[in-house]
Amino acid sequence: METTEVIEEGGNITVERAGEETRKLSFNNGLCAVCGLCEEICPVEAIEVNPTGAMIRTEQETSKITIDEGKCVLCGMCSSICPFQALDLQIDGTSIKEIPGYPQLLKSAEIDEEECINCKACETACPQDAITITRDLPERKDLITGEIEIDKDTCIYCGICEEMCPADAIEIDYEEPTSINPVIASDINVDEDKCVHCGICKRVCPVDAIMEVCRICPYGEYEIELKPEITGTSYIDPELCVNCGWCQEICPVDAAKVTKPFEGELILHEEKCQGCETCVMVCPCNVLSFPKPEKPGEKPEKLHKDEKFCIYCGACEKSCPVDAITVKRNSINYTPTRSKAWQNAFESLIK
């Protein structure tokens, strides 16, 4: 019944105890945001978060936390509270996140595919690169119709149309002229899948060899049946998502819905802040930023927060070297548990 610990290269840690049941705690260093909730909740003081500032700045590969296998009893509290999925306790191969009875943080992020217009705003805004939008775009030729024809007998292969075509639809097969065959090109072709019938080639052709007509233009603003649907799928990586709410905020059609694990208040003590930016680097939710100075040498404005995106994990407070940030947690959203000890442990994080 010995507890063993393995620290892998890259900082991942596993702590294991094989007895009546096999308990295995896995720590994923890459997912850890150094918030310190595991350290706070651990009932046996087995976890210690290593100094954050230095680690963030130097991008070290060492473990962000230390687990004392002599103290760890593999109860799983750290695994249940971690909002970043960095810790996971498995009992006989099943994560306690799937075992009924264990309290689970209530947090989610979903994109309603019915509403989503595949604009990718969320994908761009997501601070954790957790969102992937795959969209199927229609072919250009399905959006525009027309005719184009090049009179190859008239064409002098000057290449002006090829150079000016905005859709790269024209291709000339150039040749080295010889005394037997004194031509500079043998053929010119239009890729009708690419052509958008803009008419530029026709207008620039010095010998009027191109005939082109757009069939859509005469309709002007009148809608004709040429608006194919843009379809797509969205995926939020549950491992990477931190439920910050950026996607929900930025979505132009309210298709994203986020439930945050904690509620609270983020308080900045401006008078203490020295502007070191550690908090900005640590924050997994892009809540904090320093506005850029307008002129060189100008002192930047004070630390700016947008609390809409804060999940009150406490990473900024933990990392601030001058105690200029206070994170107050008012409530934790979690599934009820019959265990008084677990309930007390969760409630103890409300401050």
Partner: protein
């Protein structure tokens, strides 16, 4: 010699189990020995009186020594818990406080297999508790209380 002491312990267990109303067949099954051996034991044959005397002393040791010594002799959890259960005269009442975090350390440490987890809380079957207090010592949150009760 260990073998003889084990026989002594089995003898005592067989006598107690018979007193409790178990048939020779049941006793044989529980102790993992054949029926004729049980019959020999109960008739006082094939066993030196010294072995029984030593075994008796062992059963009267403090519960932890009784348990650990028996386990050292038998090297088998199931056989150990059967002997202990049959020979331990003292009774204990175990309770788990609400401060239990369900880590399962007690379960792994209990040689009597008297503990299981129910919804993140350890539950101790007092019927099987031998009073060794190993779980009490191992519990990281001091959540286990064991007291001796009058039979």
């Amino acid at each position: 010699m260990p073998k003889h002491i084990i026989s002594g312990l089995r003898y005592l267990a067989a006598v107690n189990l018979t007193k409790q109303g178990h048939t020779q067949k049941e006793v044989a099954n529980r102790l993992g020995i054949n029926r004729s051996t049980v019959s020999h034991y109960l008739n006082g044959r094939n066993l030196s009186i010294r072995s029984i005397e030593v075994a008796k002393v062992i059963t009267e040791l403090c519960p932890r020594d009784f348990l650990l010594l028996t386990y050292a002799l038998l090297q088998d959890t199931n056989k150990t818990r059967t002997i202990i259960k049959a020979c331990q005269r003292r009774k204990f009442k175990a309770s788990v406080k609400s401060s239990c975090i369900g880590c399962g350390i007690c379960i792994d440490s209990c040689l009597m297999k008297a503990i299981k987890l129910d919804e993140l809380k350890a539950e101790i079957d007092s019927e099987w508790c031998c009073g060794c207090l190993i779980c009490v010592e191992m519990c990281p949150t001091n959540s286990i209380e064991i007291e001796e009760v009058e039979d």
